[in-house]
Amino acid sequence: MDNILTSLSMIADPWVALALIVGTVFGVIVGALPGLGSILAITMVLPFTIAMGQVPAIALILAVYCSSVFGGSITAILINTPGTPQSAATVLDGHPMTRAGKANLAIGWATVASLIGGIFSAIVLIFAAPKLASFALRFGAIETFALICLSLTCIVSVSKGSLLKGLLAGVFGLFISTIGPDQMTGMVRLNFDIFELSGGFQLVPLVVGLFAFSEVFVRLSERRFQGTTPTSPAGFRFPSLIELARRWKTALKGSLIGTFVGILPGTGAATASFMSYAEARRSARFKEKLGQGEPEGIVASETANNAVTGGALVPTLALGIPGDPVTAVMMTALIMQGIQPGVRLFADNPELMNAAFMVLILANIAMLIVAIFVTPFITRVLRLPEPLLLAIVMLLSTVGAYSATGRMIDVFISICFGVLGFILRIAAVPIAPIVIGVVLGPIFEESLRQGLIITDGHFGAFWSMDRPIALTLIIVAVFMFLVSILGELKPRRRELGYSD
């Protein structure tokens, strides 16, 4: 109890409140700008934390972290362009809602879903971090491989329209991810002797191209410059409690999936939101309407990506092992504050940890408050004349693509992917599977090859009873794959006039 009181006195500091508000506003804006994203947002505030006390510094960083993940959904909903790859799955239902004139409501759903996911994972972090951390350690290369197999099954679920086209797009994404240096041997693959390609394609320019630039090209080709989609009222509208209650299962599942994926190093929020979306396609109450502007799709994606925040902090704080580049930067910030994340942190410094957890919950609440006051201004971009809006999107996307690695070539790569995305959209090929392939490809390959080295090349050893976690995940993956394939095929048969 003393602990809690000490921690409370640590956060009852005007600087903490200020850090939360400033951090949240900043995070939402940076997250919403296509191509910038959580890592950049946190790196930008890093120098300011040096001069701050421990708790305000933690508050600033956690606020930027949570709100930048949420911020990505705003552009996903408003202009069909995820601000960060984490929000790529939010596009699927978020933008159709905007087209239907319900942008304010869609943002409300995204905010509430992010809040639920964030708070859920924060609570898990508070009560179970050390235990879950030891679970994360048991999760080795082979287990990771099994998890990625399971994640890849979401390609089926996000393949709107044509399953075949979706699968091909997914395979295309996997192939793209093989360009560049081979982690195992250092060999550079498929660069066609162009030195600039020897680093492979970066995720951010690719996502910016496939979504943002292609969106601009599509709109240009539609030549609808006057009075288009934005009949949406600007502003922020809460979803009704009843509507929310009807989708509680998806919110809970999304939070669980996000927390779980967050705890396991190496996978990340983009994977979590796609997995959760895939699960919604399989089991949600309104699964038939998913992809046409059904809030449940936003709930699935946004609870999951924000639940990753608390989950990813588990190995970061309890083991000192950051699960992704975002938490790696956060860990740096903590070390600069003289806090060494690791096994001893929870035992040696419980007051500080409790304060950090309370701050994490407050950061999620700050996100809600800021969303209510800030998003009405952002949604006004929809009122802009379309040529102006498209010009702004082009400008921001160019900056975003450039800032990923600081090279002009990434801007060109991004534009090339924009053209590709445009062609694919015309051909009705879904784009999300490409992103899934690119995100999962490297870790799929890496974990497979690590596993093969460890088992001396025996693939069969991957699914033995000695590895119950991997075996379970593989069985679930096969099950999910079959279920989703059958689910996709069934309506087709009905359309064609067959009866079941």
Partner: protein
């Protein structure tokens, strides 16, 4: 206003002058290229040094992260930059002393001139606290007796831990089972989780994850672990230490280099910087331009023979 031919001629001359006016260096911001992402270990050091260096040099500095392909993309960018002192390069030695030997890359160590080293840290071979290997002898003997049973975690071909593994492999004469991981934290996770048995990393890693160091790869004993034996006591004649420092593109004028060298030397003596570096667990180890250059040239030679013997040089 109409310009006379004479005025126009003078204007053109003036525009050409900056090439001659280098005595005024620095007169605009200096870009520091860091070949790893923002927030990483190298970037963090660069951003800690930057304000102090900028003060000593009397110019604003901007850290620019040009990333990818084991640091070679950033290095190529720096090698290609105009050698006028307005672009300098901050990197550990991997991209300049190892990578150019592994594959075809549009630069080499000769594309740069050394400005000075900022810090150095020896690598250590380490195991978990309750590992079956009590000493380095145990580990080497077990590796020899039970080939293929001990998993060595490392961070990929062409990294410094890989050089240490190669040297170990030569010493024991048995092929080591090498499991590559993307980053040192992931290798540490694998060792803590029991998937791999031993790893070689910078000494901070041993501290951070409470691992038990078996041997130190430094020329001198490791500062955090002075009692841990050096690898040369076991007959391994290699030194593996990270050396992080500043370089300028080759061809940078002497007077500009002199200013950069002096600014770095002063910065490294500043207690403010020493304290800031210690806060992020970096022990400063300044070497001036000459000494740093010699050290890196010697490394290129050593690495060439080491990598050549395992057939990795191009």
């Amino acid at each position: 206003m109409k310009l006379s031919v004479k005025q126009m001629f003078s204007a053109v001359c003036l525009a050409l002058v900056p090439g001659l006016a280098l005595a005024d260096y620095p007169e605009k911001p200096v870009t520091i290229i860091v070949p790893w992402s923002a927030g990483g270990a190298t970037d963090l050091v660069a951003r800690t040094v930057e304000p102090v260096l900028s003060e000593k040099l009397g110019a604003d500095m901007v850290v620019s992260n040009v990333t990818g392909a084991s640091g070679t993309i950033g290095a190529a960018e720096a090698a290609r930059a105009k050698p006028d002192g307005y672009t300098i390069f901050f990197t550990p030695q991997g991209p300049v002393t190892i990578q150019p030997q592994l594959r075809n890359i549009p630069y080499s160590l000769d594309s740069f001139v050394a400005i000075g080293r900022v810090y150095s840290s020896p690598y250590m071979t380490m195991v978990v606290e309750d590992s079956e290997f009590a000493t380095m002898e145990d580990l080497l003997a077990a590796t020899k007796e039970r080939p293929g049973e001990i998993n060595y975690a490392f961070t990929g071909i062409g990294t410094l831990p890989h050089l240490a593994l190669t040297a170990t492999q030569q010493h024991v004469g048995v092929k080591l089972k090498q499991v590559p991981y993307k980053a040192s934290a992931e290798a540490a996770k694998a060792v803590l989780g029991g998937e791999s048995h031993v790893m070689t990393e910078q000494q901070q890693t041993a501290q951070q994850f409470e691992m038990r160091p078996l041997a130190c790869w430094g020329a001198e004993p490791c500062s955090f672990y002075p009692d841990v034996p050096l690898v040369k006591e076991f007959g391994i004649e290699s030194v593996v230490e990270v050396s992080v420092g500043f370089y300028a593109p080759a061809g940078t004028p002497e007077d500009v280099l002199a200013k950069l060298n002096a600014a770095l030397e002063e910065a490294m003596k500043d207690p403010k910087l020493v304290e800031a570096l210690e806060k992020i667990q970096i022990s400063p180890a300044y070497l001036d331009s000459m000494a740093f250059d010699q050290r890196m040239r010697a490394e290129v030679e050593n690495n060439r023979s080491l990598l050549g013997e395992v057939g990795l040089t191009q």
